[in-house]
């Protein structure tokens, strides 16, 4: 089985990529480990031991993000999520640079302790594909990066750590003008703008989640979980900068609330675990598909397995060389707009087309596994869809045949009218003139011959008229079914009562209904010994229903008595997608009912 994905993220074949992706992941993990260790050891080395709980939380954030990032780099090479998470983990350690006694590290530690925040927003908006596609969201990210870099720089420009006579303090490399007042003003403005920015960013991420499809939301679950807690933490951090809080509360905010940030990497790892569990349950899904299943079962199982309730499944029809749905109708291209498609092929050729949420394809292995276990059932359903597709074609072909037959009848009727009938009428006119010219004194034998010829011709004209009428009654196309059936009753060899609405039903339907009645009356007159035929025409829920019942001897169901005419009518009714039933119990008359779909 091969898999081709038209999604925004095309996975590479797994084996080789995983090996190549190995070294950056290991490098990241190693660097993270060293960073965490140094962060834990630094206070002790400097003889300034900190509260162990606070230290543990601080290191845990880096460990979680770098660890999850390394896993992501292995599992989803080429996806930016891993790099973003690792970046957050490392940027989180910026304040620890202060332990290094050098102007540059001290300056960075003081100026950019919150540089991880725009990256966190970047991760949230790009999860799980690693790409931010929407224009407004890209603008927001650009603003966030620029704002974080520049606003902290603006504050730093006026901050002089040595101003209060702290000779031990490292020099601020960004210092332009030492001014505590300017520093305080810049800091206040920056913090206020930050507050607004955080709330706005949280709102944009919330909207991003809200607008995602259900499969997308499923994939974004870690972001959904982290959004509230992390936003709260960051807002409280700004509040703590602005106003002086009780020291215990400030300690909780600064030292322990970072725990909220752990939700995302942990959630990501849980998500991977869940996918692992789904793999483990593949066997159960396979069991669901074993044995005879109702149509559409494969789709249900795949939708459950891939967590996409809107998943659509189309089957390859080799006869129409196109993907068709369960009913055999070809797939329309607009059905797959905004959706990702993935083809499932067997060795013999294309099998099916999965139309899924793009988020589903973030786990291509699972899609492959789903395709593999569904293959047999799919082949089964595909064959069914193929048969149905052929049935659809067959039905439209027979409907075209009926149409063509009808056009042929009209043409014959027209040709008779314009040709033979006109010639015979002209001939009878000439003959009549000859008779008139002969006059009462002419040869009586001649007169007798002319009279006989005239009578024969009159008969021939009448027979030809009825023949043309039987091929295609002009009244039917001119005035409709009710009028044509009434005229049929007027020339019927036995009493016929007609009840029919005056409305029109479409040419093919009217014509078929008319000839069914005509054949039924002919049959009744021939075999049934009926005294009365009742014809009832009505419209019923998009169908034209025609019932012809007689009070004859019944037993007309046997094919010999049904007559070839009516048997032919049954074919014609079926070709138009209708049904015809004949009920004819002995001694209880015959009832022929036809149901024809009509507009």
């Amino acid at each position: 089985m091969s898999l081709s994905a038209a999604a925004f993220w095309t996975p590479a074949p797994s084996g080789t990529t995983r090996n190549r992706a190995g070294w950056p992941a290991w490098a990241v993990a190693g660097a993270g480990l060293i960073g965490c260790t140094l962060s834990l050891l630094a206070p002790i080395l400097h003889g300034l031991p900190m509260h162990p709980g606070a230290q543990a939380v601080h290191a845990a954030v880096t460990a979680a993000y770098v660890g999850a990032g390394a896993v992501a780099l292995v599992r989803r090479p080429g996806n930016a999520v891993g790099a973003l998470m690792a970046a957050i983990g490392f940027l989180w350690l910026i304040p620890d640079l202060g332990w290094i006694r050098a102007p540059l590290s001290a300056t960075l530690a003081v100026t950019y302790p919150q540089l991880y925040q725009p990256v966190l927003a970047h991760l949230a908006l790009g999860f799980p594909s690693g790409r931010v596609t929407e224009r407004a969201e890209r603008w927001l990210l650009g603003y966030l990066y620029a704002f974080t870099l520049l606003s902290n720089l603006a504050v730093a420009a006026f901050t002089d750590p040595r101003a209060d006579g702290c000779s031990d303090c490292q020099r601020n490399l960004f210092l332009i003008h030492s001014s505590p007042l300017a520093e305080q003003r810049a800091s206040e403005v920056t913090t206020l703008v930050s507050l607004v920015t955080v709330v706005a960013t949280a709102a944009v991420i919330g909207r991003h989640l809200w607008r995602a499809t259900s499969a997308g939301q499923y994939a974004m679950a870690p972001v959904m979980w982290v959004l509230g807690p992390a936003a709260t933490y960051i807002v409280l951090l700004q509040v703590a900068d602005l106003v002086s809080l009780p020291s215990a509360m400030e300690r909780v905010i600064r030292d322990y609330l970072p725990l909220t940030l752990l939700v995302l990497p942990v959630g990501f790892l849980v998500g991977l675990l869940r996918i692992r569990l789904t793999y483990a349950r593949v066997g159960r899904f396979a069991a669901d598909l074993a044995g005879p299943a109702p149509p559409g079962r494969v789709r249900e199982v795949l939708a459950t397995m891939l967590h996409d309730p809107d998943l659509e499944l189309f089957y390859w029809s080799s006869s129409s060389a196109a993907y068709v749905d369960l009913h055999g109708n070809p797939v329309k291209p607009d059905r797959v707009a905004d959706r990702a498609t993935t083809a499932i092929d067997s060795d013999a050729g294309p099998l099916a087309l999965l139309v899924v949420d793009p988020a589903v394809l973030a786990e291509p292995g699972l899609v492959r596994a789903a395709g593999a276990i569904a293959q047999l059932a799919l082949e089964n359903e595909r064959l069914q869809a193929e048969v149905r597709s052929q049935l659809v074609q067959l039905r439209s072909a027979s409907a075209r045949l009926v149409q063509a037959g009808q056009e042929a009848r009209r043409k014959i009727e027209r040709d008779l009218h314009d040709g033979a009938q006109q010639r015979l009428l002209a001939l009878s006119m000439t003959l009549g003139r000859a008779r008139d010219l002969l006059g009462p004194k002419g040869d009586p034998r001649m007169r007798d011959s002319l009279d006989r010829a005239h009578a024969d011709l009159h008969q021939a004209i009448a027979e030809l008229r009825e023949l043309a009428r039987g091929i295609h009654p002009v009244l039917l196309s001119q005035e409709g079914l009710a009028s044509a059936l009434r005229a049929l009753a007027e020339r019927s060899p036995l009493p016929v009562q007609v009840a029919a609405p005056a409305e029109r039903f479409g040419e093919g339907v009217e014509s078929t209904a008319y000839f069914v009645v005509s054949e039924a009356i002919t049959n009744a007159a021939r075999h049934s010994r009926a005294g009365l035929v009742r014809v009832l025409v009505r419209r019923d829920a998009g169908n034209l229903v025609v019932e012809v019942s007689d009070d004859g001897i019944g037993s007309a169901s046997e094919s010999a008595r049904l007559g070839t005419g009516l048997a032919g009518m049954r074919d014609r009714v079926t070709a138009l997608g209708g049904v015809m039933s004949v009920v004819s119990p002995p001694g209880q008359g015959t009832r022929i009912a036809v149901r024809l779909p009509c507009a």
Binding site: D418, T430, Q478, R486, E490, A499
Partner: protein, 220 residues
């Protein structure tokens, strides 16, 4: 008597013109479609129009439609429709408006110049003509509860002639009976058929035709 003829078959048109002229009628114009017919009648209203039903451009029932329109626009012009169709529905449609100055004759009648000319004269004089074959079909049709059952054979003949558009005097002439006898027959027929409120004159023809056709299928 002045005639305008509409017939799309050149063979029949030429034959009919000769037939009508040899019978002493004045053929003002012979056209091949309904539109030219309307124009010709509007230009010079004749005493009678003789028209085919199925003509260009649609080869449907434009001749019949033109006949109805001409009757409405020119009350003094009679219209005799020569039809290829043995259809009571078309005859009834033609008579529906006022049933005077109109006739529905099968095209078969072209073999009988005298009958054709007589029908044209009856129509021009304000009468109403229905082809005997149409009437015969309706009278002979089998019925479940035959309303014509109580009629005697002679009454049936009188009823048929009524449906063909003949007046009491016309029926009397054709049956070699006195108008008084015919009047008695007519009264008896109308009573037996429960048609006592039937109007006289040409309206009687439409009433009898409708009775013979029975209720329309759309009626309950």
């Amino acid at each position: 008597m002045r005639v305008i003829l509409a017939e799309d078959s050149p063979l029949l048109r030429a034959g009919l013109v000769r037939l009508l002229e040899e019978s002493g009628l004045d053929v003002l114009d012979a056209v091949s479609d309904a539109m030219s017919l309307r124009a010709a009648v509007a230009a010079t209203p004749p005493d009678v129009v003789i028209t085919d039903i199925r003509m260009p451009p649609t080869y449907g029932d434009e001749g019949l439609q033109a006949a109805v329109d001409i009757r409405a626009a020119h009350p003094t012009v009679g219209v005799l429709v020569l039809s290829q169709y043995l259809e009571a529905a078309y005859a009834e449609r033609l008579l529906r408006s006022d049933a005077s100055h109109v006739g529905y004759l099968l095209k078969d009648r072209v073999s009988d110049a005298a009958m054709l000319v007589l029908a044209a004269e009856r129509v021009a004089a304000g009468g109403c003509v229905v082809d005997p074959d149409v009437v015969r079909m309706l009278v002979a049709r089998p019925r479940a509860d035959d309303p014509l059952g109580p009629l005697t054979d002679r009454e049936r003949v009188v009823l048929s002639l009524m449906a063909e558009g003949w007046s009491n005097q016309g029926i009397a002439d054709r049956m070699f009976l006195s108008p008084k006898t015919i009047e008695a027959h007519v009264t008896a027929i109308l009573t037996k058929l429960d048609l006592r409120d039937t109007p006289t004159g040409n309206r009687r023809v439409l009433a009898v035709l409708r009775f013979l056709r029975g209720p329309a299928p759309a009626d309950p």
